[in-house]
């Protein structure tokens, strides 16, 4: 079982991989100094899960601001999911956004453009982080 638990701070998102449940949760702002360092292990975790588990993988996202490198990383992860989906694996994304800011919904739709797997964009009231 792969452990992924990256606590967030002011400029990086909190990222938790729940291997048993098949859920990857990311939340917060993302403008890390080194996106490769931050997202490298995350991408690895997703690849490992998709390669070794027959169970579905669900992404639960409550992301706010993403700098350009973070956008690339998230798109890379979606590409992985798309490839898995095309191979018949069950994958999905749920993108939560603050209903007070409709722009984020439009943004999420851009991310979802090339994804043919289930991609839900849902309004959610902000939860205080644990």
């Amino acid at each position: 079982m792969n452990a992924l638990n990256i606590p967030g701070d002011q400029s990086t998102p909190s990222i938790v991989g729940h291997w048993d449940q098949g859920v990857l949760a990311m939340s917060g702002d993302s403008y890390p100094e080194n996106a490769f360092e931050l997202f490298g292990p995350v991408i690895q975790w997703v690849e490992d899960f998709l390669a070794s588990e027959p169970r579905p993988l669900q992404l639960d996202l409550r992301l706010l601001y993403l700098n350009t490198s973070s956008i690339r990383a998230v798109l890379d992860i979606f590409d992985l999911l798309q490839a898995a989906h095309e191979q018949g694996k069950q994958v999905g994304v749920r993108w939560h956004y603050d209903p007070r800011n409709e722009r984020v919904r439009e943004l999420a739709e851009e991310f979802a453009e090339d994804c043919s797997f289930p991609f839900d964009i849902v309004p959610s009231v902000e939860r205080a982080s644990a």
Partner: protein
């Protein structure tokens, strides 16, 4: 119509490997160009994607170079588009924040921060252009009693109503802001003594006419006002102090009046 063009990669590899073409004058240049082309595509892939192992799972190897290139470019364009959106969002947020930090939440008027900035700016402009500048401090009479008698909700309502009334009576280029708890500051640029008087008296009269007749007993309000006209070479603090001293006099002399500090 025309057949789908044959993929370029195998064709070029084939031509470069063909012994019959080994001495072809174009061969060396084409080999170099092809090598450079592949290098650039790989570089583009590294810029476009964060993950090194991305290629393995995405079956990139199956695509020929041209299609790879196009895919990378489309991907980069998408990254740029999304990035633009985030930046627009940040800018909007900044504008909203700037407004929130310079305006009073309750009345919507300029807050002390904005008033201080404008006071500084207008004083400098006045000195440069040798134009007049007047400051008026307006204080609600017996505000504490209003709060104690009717409660703070009514107190807030009174503040809001007086704020909107005054804002309505000053001119386009005047600034009306909330200076303190029950104190407002009016900034009147490029206005001489006589016109200052007419604006201030208009404000005073408008407040006097206010009636909150849904309250028991019905409430009427008045204000005390201290006015000062900028003296040449005077600092902002000195100007505001003179207006404040005039306001104090107005209070002491019985309230519901205007005192000119000059």
């Amino acid at each position: 119509m025309s057949a789908t063009p044959q993929p370029l990669d195998p064709k070029i590899e084939q031509l470069l490997a063909d012994p019959a073409l080994a001495d072809n004058p174009l061969r060396e240049a084409m080999a170099a160009l092809w090598h450079e082309h592949q290098r650039l595509v790989r570089r583009l892939e590294r810029i476009t994607h964060l993950s090194d192992s991305f290629q393995a799972l995405a079956h990139e190897g199956e695509l020929d170079l041209t299609r790879k290139l196009e895919r990378q470019l489309r991907h980069l364009e998408k990254v740029a588009r999304i990035s633009d959106r985030y930046q627009s969002m940040l800018r909007e947020l900044n504008v909203a924040l700037a407004h929130a930090s310079t305006h009073d939440l309750l009345t919507g008027l300029a807050n002390r921060r904005l008033l201080s900035e404008r006071l500084r700016a207008e004083t400098e402009r006045s000195l440069r252009g040798q134009t007049p500048l007047a400051v008026a401090l307006v204080d609600i009479d017996h505000f504490k009693t209003i709060n104690d008698t009717y409660g703070h909700d009514v107190g807030d309502r009174v503040l809001q109503t007086i704020a909107h009334t005054m804002e309505d009576k000053v001119r386009e280029y005047d600034l009306c802001g909330r200076w303190g708890g029950e104190e407002f500051l009016l900034l009147l640029p490029a206005t001489d003594g006589e016109h200052v008087r007419s604006v201030i008296e208009r404000v005073q009269q408008a407040v006097r006419l206010l009636v909150f007749d849904d309250l028991q007993p019905p409430l009427r309000v008045t204000v005390s006002i201290g006015v000062a006209n900028l003296q040449f070479g005077e600092s902002v603090d000195a100007l505001v102090k003179r207006a404040d001293d005039a306001l104090l006099s107005a209070k002491r002399e019985g309230r519901d009046r205007i005192v000119y500090g000059d």
